[in-house]
C-alpha cells in the first residue's frame, strides 16, 4: 500500500494530537502518525517550527498543505472528505452548523482551559517529575464544575451537545475527559452527573475513540 499523503506529527498521548486522530478515524481517512520526541525537544527544532510556529503538537500535512491547531485541522478533514466515514461532524446546513460552532466555542473557551490545567496537573505533572499546584487544581476544578453543570442541564433535553446527532462539538471533548475519567481520581465530576455520564458513555465507546485510546496505551 502506498504511504498515505496525510501525516500527523506528534505523540498519540497528546490531547491535541488525539483530537486530530479521532477525527481522521471517524472520517475513515488513512494517515501516517509521525513520531515527535518531545523529550528530545524535536518540537522546538527549526524544521518542526516551520510547520508549527508555536513549537507545539500536532502539526499536519496533506499533499501540499501544512496546518496546525487541532480544531482547524479537523475542520479541514471534514471539509475535504464530506462523504467519508461519519457524516455531518460540522453540520450539513447553516442552522446545524451554527449550533455545532456554538458548542465547539463553549468547549474551546469554557471547558478546555480548566480541563487542560487539571489534566496537566493530575496526570502529566507527576510523569514529568513536577510538583502539583494544589491552589491551581482547586481553582480549575471549581471552574470545571460550573461548566459541567451547564452541560448537565443541556444534555437533559439534547442527546448530544449540538442536537440529536454526534458532532465535532462532542468529539472535541474526548481527549481531556478521557484522561480525567480514566487516569485521575476526579472521574466523579463526570460520572456523578446523570446526563453528562450518559453522554460520556456514548461518545467514549465509539469505535474511533476506542482505537485512539488503544494507541495511547500502546
Amino acid at each position: 500500500m502506498a504511504t498515505p499523503p496525510v501525516k500527523v506529527y506528534g505523540p498519540a498521548l497528546s490531547t491535541a494530537v488525539s483530537r486530530v486522530l479521532v477525527c481522521l478515524l471517524e472520517k475513515d481517512v488513512p494517515f501516517q502518525l509521525v513520531p515527535v520526541s518531545m523529550a528530545k525537544l524535536e518540537h522546538k527544532k527549526p524544521d518542526y517550527i516551520k510547520m508549527q510556529p508555536f513549537g507545539q503538537v500536532p502539526a499536519f500535512q496533506d499533499e501540499d498543505i501544512t496546518l496546525f491547531e487541532s480544531r482547524a485541522i479537523c475542520r479541514y478533514i471534514a471539509e475535504k472528505y464530506p462523504n467519508k466515514g461519519t457524516a455531518g461532524l460540522f453540520g450539513t446546513n447553516p442552522l446545524v452548523k451554527a449550533s455545532i460552532d456554538q458548542w465547539l466555542e463553549a468547549e474551546s473557551q469554557s471547558f478546555n482551559p480548566p480541563s487542560s490545567v487539571l489534566t496537566f496537573q493530575l496526570v502529566f505533572a507527576s510523569r514529568m517529575k513536577l510538583k502539583q499546584d494544589e491552589a491551581l487544581i482547586k481553582q480549575n476544578e471549581a471552574k470545571l464544575v460550573k461548566v459541567l453543570d451547564v452541560y448537565e442541564n443541556r444534555l437533559e433535553s439534547s442527546r448530544y451537545l449540538a442536537g440529536d446527532e454526534f458532532t465535532f462539538a462532542d468529539l472535541s471533548h474526548l481527549p481531556n475527559t478521557q484522561y480525567l475519567v480514566d487516569k485521575t481520581d476526579r472521574a466523579e465530576l463526570f460520572t456523578s452527573r446523570k446526563n453528562v455520564s450518559r453522554w460520556w458513555s456514548e461518545i467514549s465507546t465509539r469505535t474511533a475513540w476506542k482505537k485512539v485510546v488503544e494507541m495511547q496505551n500502546a
Binding site: P53, F54, I65, L67, F68, E69, R71, A72, R75, Y76, E79, K80, P94, L95, K97, A98, S99, D101, Q102, L104, E105, A106, S108, Q109, S110, P113, V147, V150, N153, R154
Partner: protein, 210 residues
C-alpha cells in the same frame, strides 16, 4: 428577519459580534443587558446563554451564544454582503481557520486576562495584580513574536485580505493599546502596522462609537 444582539457596551465579546455586524453592513437591534443589575444571570437571559455571559444573538428562530460562533454564522450566511470575512478557496480557508484558532487558543487567554487586570478592574474599583500582568505579558510576547514572523510573510493573519482571523482580535487589542501593554505591539513593526490598520477600519470605528 430581524436580528437582535444582546450585550453590554463595554464587553469585549459583545464588541466582537458588533464588529462583524458592522463589517457586513447588517442592521440589528442592540438590547442592553445591564450586568450591574445581574440581568445576565436572569432566567430569561440564561435561556439565551446558559453560561450567563454576553453576547447572545437572535435571528428569527435561531438563537446563538459565543461571539466567535456568532461571527462565523454571519460571515458564512451573509457571504455576499459587505466585507468578505472568509475565503471561498478551500485551501486558503483552511489556512484562515488555523489563524482563527490561534486567536482563540493563544491570543485570547493572555490578552483577556490583561484586559481584565488593566482595564475592567479599574472600572469596578478593584486593584490590578501586577504579577498576573507580568506573567500574561510574557505569554502575549511569545504570541506576538509568532505574529511578527507571520505578518512579515502575509499582509493579514489569515491571508492577503482582512478576515475573521484579524477581526476577532479587535476588542482586546483596542483595550490593550490604551494601556502600558501597547509597548509590546509597538516593539514589533509588522504587528504594529497591522494593529494600526485594523483598528482604523471604518466599520470598527463605527461599531465602537455608535
Amino acid at each position: 428577519m430581524a436580528i437582535k444582539l444582546y450585550g453590554a457596551p463595554a464587553s469585549n465579546a459583545t464588541l466582537r459580534a458588533k464588529a462583524c455586524l458592522a463589517e457586513k453592513g447588517i442592521e440589528y437591534e442592540f438590547v442592553h443587558v445591564d450586568m450591574s443589575k445581574q440581568e445576565h444571570k436572569s432566567p430569561e437571559f440564561l435561556s439565551r446563554n446558559p453560561f450567563g455571559q454576553v453576547p447572545a444573538f437572535e435571528e428569527g428562530d435561531l438563537k446563538l451564544f459565543e461571539s466567535r460562533a456568532i461571527t462565523q454564522y454571519l460571515a458564512h450566511t451573509y457571504a455576499d454582503k459587505g466585507s468578505d470575512l472568509i475565503i471561498k478557496d478551500p485551501k486558503k480557508m483552511a489556512i484562515l481557520a488555523v489563524w482563527i484558532e490561534v486567536e482563540s487558543q493563544k491570543f485570547e487567554p493572555a490578552s483577556s486576562k490583561l484586559v481584565w487586570e488593566l482595564v475592567y478592574k479599574a472600572m469596578f474599583g478593584m486593584t490590578t495584580d501586577e504579577a498576573v500582568v507580568e506573567g500574561n505579558e510574557k505569554k502575549l510576547e511569545q504570541v506576538l513574536d509568532v505574529y511578527e514572523s507571520r505578518l512579515s510573510q502575509s499582509k493579514y493573519l489569515g491571508g492577503e485580505s482582512f478576515t475573521l482571523a484579524d477581526l476577532h482580535h479587535l476588542p482586546n487589542m483596542k483595550y490593550l493599546v490604551g494601556t502600558k501593554t501597547k509597548r509590546l505591539f509597538d516593539a514589533r513593526p509588522h504587528v504594529s502596522a497591522w494593529a494600526a490598520d485594523i483598528l482604523s477600519r471604518p466599520a470598527w470605528v463605527k461599531a465602537t462609537t455608535a
